[in-house]
């Protein structure tokens, strides 16, 4: 990065570190933080949408649809989430490849599951064997996002379902008395009012989501955990210009501090949001604000 970095052996401590921390692999390390933030930015709305769909179908009057929604919400609880992460990545990958296989190679006769193997025709492979490295990486990241969205969608569905039930029933009855259909009642009365009730649960979920991001490592994405392990390991002068001992402890200490700072900032921001949403509401939070303003 800097001009004096050409020969690191001769540098003093400070300059050595300034070169070490800005070399090529460290740039990949910093880039992986962006990956984590991107995952959060994409997953949060998608999971919310999944959760909304789940909560909506759980409320449905058509029994099978309601079972589907309730089952989706219930099944992810009770089983360790990490098992779901490991499960969905393989299951989704195989589901995509199987579907493509059925469409692209209809005259393939061999069974797909041969003993311990999962074989599809080469046109159906995802990503194609010939595609460049970045396609593989993006596909892995895409699978991770879908997996996170499915698992966290179930959590969000649970919270939203609770929020929908917390809306005072009189509101819905009034809407019915005015002659609104079920659909109108849902979209015009229930949905606008449920957010205040769902927000504490959703903000808790956001914190949980932040703390789940290191699990990306298990899904085979080159994330911050991967790079911290890579970069922290002992390096000898044979392979790098910056030899050092086992520094993994310090790299993980840095990750720990990063997450602590991130959750702290989110906590403060969500607290502000709650203050804002409570303003003028007929809840204890809103009442406390009113009293403060009067006194």
């Amino acid at each position: 990065m800097f001009s004096y970095c050409a020969d690191p052996d001769t540098l003093g401590t400070f300059r050595w570190f300034s070169c070490y921390l800005t070399n090529g692999v460290h740039m990949s390390f910093y880039l992986s933080f962006i990956k984590v933030l991107a995952l959060l930015a994409i997953t949060a709305p998608v999971a919310l949408a999944f959760g909304f769909a789940g909560a909506m179908s759980a409320r449905s009057h058509v029994l099978p649809v309601s079972w589907l929604g309730k089952g989706y919400i219930a099944i992810v609880r009770g089983v360790p989430d990490i098992a779901f992460f490991l499960f969905f990545v393989i299951a989704l990958d195989q589901a995509f490849e199987w579907t493509r296989h059925q469409i692209l190679c209809p005259d393939w006769t061999d069974p797909i599951r041969q003993g311990n193997d999962f074989l599809v025709c080469s046109q159906a492979k995802l990503p194609l064997g010939t595609s460049p490295e970045w396609v593989h990486q993006t596909y892995g990241f895409f699978l991770a996002v879908v997996t996170f969205a499915i698992v966290f969608g179930a959590f969000a569905g649970n919270v939203l379902f609770g929020g929908m039930r917390a809306v005072p029933h009189a509101q819905l009855e009034t809407a019915e008395a005015y002659g609104m259909s079920r659909r109108q009642t849902f979209w015009r009365i229930l949905v606008p009012q449920m957010w205040v009730y769902a927000l504490p649960g959703l903000s808790n979920l956001w914190m949980v989501l932040i703390k789940a991001t290191p699990l990306l490592f298990l899904l085979g994405v080159e994330d911050i955990v991967y790079w911290a392990r890579e970069l922290g390991g002992t390096k000898t002068s044979k392979f790098t210009a910056y030899p050092h001992g086992d520094w993994r402890m310090w790299y993980f200490l840095f990750l720990l501090v990063f997450y602590l700072a991130f959750t702290r900032v989110s906590e403060i921001a969500l607290e502000r949001l709650m203050q804002k949403l409570s303003h003028g509401q007929a809840t204890t939070g809103g009442e406390a604000q009113r009293k403060e303003a009067v006194a």
Binding site: R77, G78, D81, V208, A212, D246
Partner: protein, 269 residues
């Protein structure tokens, strides 16, 4: 059937290192998968119970510390809780492992800390203590004022007031949330062998074996549902035991006022 009994004999205690040394390599039967994953559950139960029992006492101390008016007690408790609740358990495992590894290099007596049975247990112990400490702290603050005043009126103070009034009420109020925390802790034990702690001689937990089978067969649809089955069973047992304790904590109350147990874990930490 006799085949399966043989498998159970060979692999039933495999996770502890007894029985057959090599894991099955080909032609996995359903029985093998059930046995090995079940054998791995021993570790999940060990980590869960040990961390819960030890964590309970530290959690009580942390809750009292956080509610204390003395700044020298309050600040450390607050920081401890923030440190372990604000960061991912996964990263805590990694950091602890590499920390113990460096300690071991300097002082060989820390050898045991780098293996999962002790090192990971310490992390889980601190972690659950922090989460339960926050739950207990919340309960401590919502103890009805009248209860404490009544204790004062009876002339109780200090230890006897804590032991007879404050502590039981705190537990009673915190118990539903604490049940969720316990479930959530058992689920968290699956992270141990997926973070840095090595499964020495393939002695791993349930998820370790489940992912072993999924990797070998490319078929996630058998081992993970088996794992799910075991965990749902474990969850039901935990809910049952904690429900009994809850009934005992609430036994002096009229039926209508008893705290309802609600199963509502929030899984990832």
């Amino acid at each position: 059937m006799s085949n399966c009994l043989q498998t159970i004999q060979d692999y039933g205690l495999r996770s502890l290192g007894y029985g057959e040394r090599l894991l099955p390599k080909t032609d996995f039967t359903l029985c093998e998968q059930f046995t090995l994953i079940g054998s791995g559950m021993i570790w999940n139960i060990y980590f869960g119970i040990m961390a819960l029992v030890t964590g309970f006492f530290l959690a009580t101390a942390l809750a009292l510390g956080k509610a204390s008016s003395n700044i020298w007690l309050r600040k450390p408790a607050e920081w401890f809780i923030f440190l372990f609740r604000g960061s991912p358990l996964f990263i805590q495992f990694f950091f602890a492992y590499f920390f113990f590894l460096s300690l071991k290099k300097a002082y060989p007596m820390f050898d045991a800390f780098t293996s999962a049975w002790l090192g990971a247990l310490i992390v889980l112990f601190f972690n659950t203590a922090a989460y339960s400490g926050e739950i207990f702290y919340g309960a401590l603050r919502s103890i009805p004022k009248g209860d404490v005043e009544a204790a004062d009126a009876y002339g109780m103070s200090g230890w006897s007031r804590f032991r007879r009034v404050i502590w039981p009420t705190m537990l009673r109020l915190a118990w539903p949330a604490y049940t969720n925390e316990a479930i959530f802790l058992f689920h968290a034990t699956t992270l141990v062998f997926f973070s840095a702690f090595p499964a020495w001689r393939q002695k791993g937990d349930a998820l370790y074996y489940a992912s072993y089978f999924a990797d070998k067969t490319f078929n996630p649809f058998v081992p993970y549902p088996i794992l799910a089955f075991y965990f749902i069973l474990l969850t039901l047992v935990v809910v049952g035991i904690f429900g009994l304790i809850n009934a005992r904590l609430n036994r002096h109350l009229p039926t209508a006022k008893k705290a309802k147990m609600r199963f509502r874990p929030n899984l990832v930490r």
